[in-house]
């Protein structure tokens, strides 16, 4: 099973054509293995990118160097998945008891 330890989901909201272009450039950088949860759509519209841990520094540097601000939407994807898994287990146990 693939784990997502240290993966973050970054939210970028491009405010200018230059910022939009910088975010779009990320889509072409295949080696970073980025997963665009929300792809670039236009100015003022959020772009959500799941960034594997090894690519975090490069992505943040790319954005910061271009003056593109971002927020961290999910700090650690695996932590959320662990919670989700735990809840499913709890639920199926309850189902068996029923």
């Amino acid at each position: 099973t693939e784990t997502f330890v240290g993966h973050q989901v970054l939210r970028v909201t491009p405010q200018s054509d230059e910022e939009l272009q910088k975010v779009q450039e990320l889509q072409d950088l295949e080696h970073l293995q980025l997963d665009f949860w929300l792809a670039p759509r236009g100015l003022g519209l959020p772009v959500d990118i799941r960034v594997p841990f090894p690519s975090l520094q490069a992505v943040k540097a790319h954005l910061e160097a271009s003056g593109v601000s971002y927020s961290i939407m999910i700090e650690d994807v695996q932590a959320l998945l662990d919670v989700e898994q735990m809840e499913m287990l709890r639920s199926s146990r309850r189902l068996s008891l029923n």
Binding site: E2, W37, A39, G42, I74, L81, V83, S91, S92
Partner: protein, 306 residues
């Protein structure tokens, strides 16, 4: 199905068991059709809700074509139970069922769904092999014969929006295509995705407005107002290409071109907190609010025969 936990995510086996239970409990209303098999030979089940009659006008709803969008399959389960409850209590969609059938495909991409449970929670595509590539899967929402392969889809099998080698190459798509064509009387088609809180209508592959754009826009406004009335969840609406981006080969563009006027696609919650990892406690509120919008669309289809 009264004791089923609708506030939790479930595996495909649990969902398929739920469907069997629902059919067993309501033999005069619900039946289960197998419309085909997936790439990995899993059955593609559709629940049919019908109070009788042959080849009545029908409404199609599908959830989970993108496998990682778990809130959609979970909402599909809730919708199924809700239809049965409304019928039993003679409220809500009961009046729709007097004249129309409802088809609901809860796990539209079963191979992908199983893969999200067993190997990779973030899997979105089908699980078909691509000759000449080590990358697996096709985006089933770019695999329809509507602007297939144009801008707004990728020809690279390693991308999330890979359109596949040819239209309907994915059995998950082909099965629906065959079903819709052979049925011939589907009047509304709603394909449900997550996330970003949108209600969209054709087109995605062209900037040319759909001939029925004005009616679809007005209907979207009504549906979104109903949705928002419950918990205040804010939705945007419009055509796919003007509201999000160019997307070729998408489901509802094809259904619209087949003459299904009321073709819509939803993007359910959330915006900016959890994405595809929406906590299970939000399943029921999401399904409840979506249901209000669905009801508006279904009632409109019933009241505006064409």
């Amino acid at each position: 199905t009264d004791t089923f936990n609708y506030e939790a995510y479930h595996t495909i086996d649990e969902i398929y068991s739920f469907m069997d239970m629902l059919v067993a409990e309501n033999p005069n209303l619900v039946s289960k059709l197998e419309i085909g098999r997936s790439t990995e030979n899993r059955p593609l089940y559709v629940l049919k809700f019908s109070t009788g009659g042959t080849n009545r006008p029908a409404i199609w709803i599908d959830t989970g074509i993108h496998s990682r969008e778990w809130v959609t399959q979970a909402s599909g389960v809730w919708f199924a139970k809700k239809i049965v409850q409304d019928h039993a209590n003679n409220e809500g969609v009961a009046s729709i069922l007097e004249t129309m059938d409802i088809f609901l495909e809860i796990v539209t991409n079963p191979d992908g769904f199983v893969f999200t449970h067993t190997k990779n929670r973030m899997w979105r595509k089908t699980r078909s092999k691509n000759s000449g590539s080590i990358c697996v899967g096709v985006d089933p929402n770019r695999n329809w014969d509507a602007g297939f392969g144009d801008a707004g889809a990728s020809g690279n099998p390693c991308t999330e929006t890979y359109h596949g080698p040819y239209p309907n190459s994915e059995p998950e798509v082909k099965s629906i295509v065959d079903f819709v064509k052979s049925h011939g009387n589907i009047k509304a088609f709603v394909s449900i995705h997550s996330y970003s809180q949108l209600l969209l209508y054709p087109y995605g592959y062209t900037e040319t407005p759909a001939p029925d754009e004005q009616e679809l826009h007005e209907l979207s406004a009504k549906a979104v107002a109903a949705l928002t009335s419950l918990y205040g969840t804010k939705y945007k609406y419009g055509s796919i290409i003007t509201t999000i981006y160019r997307a070729s080969g998408s489901t509802v563009d094809w259904t619209y071109n087949q003459g299904i006027k009321y073709s819509f696609t939803f993007e359910l919650r959330d915006t900016g907190r959890y994405g595809f990892l929406l906590p299970a406690k939000q399943i029921v509120p999401t399904a409840e609010e979506t249901w209000l919008a669905l009801k508006v669309i279904m009632e409109h289809a019933r009241d505006h025969p064409y």
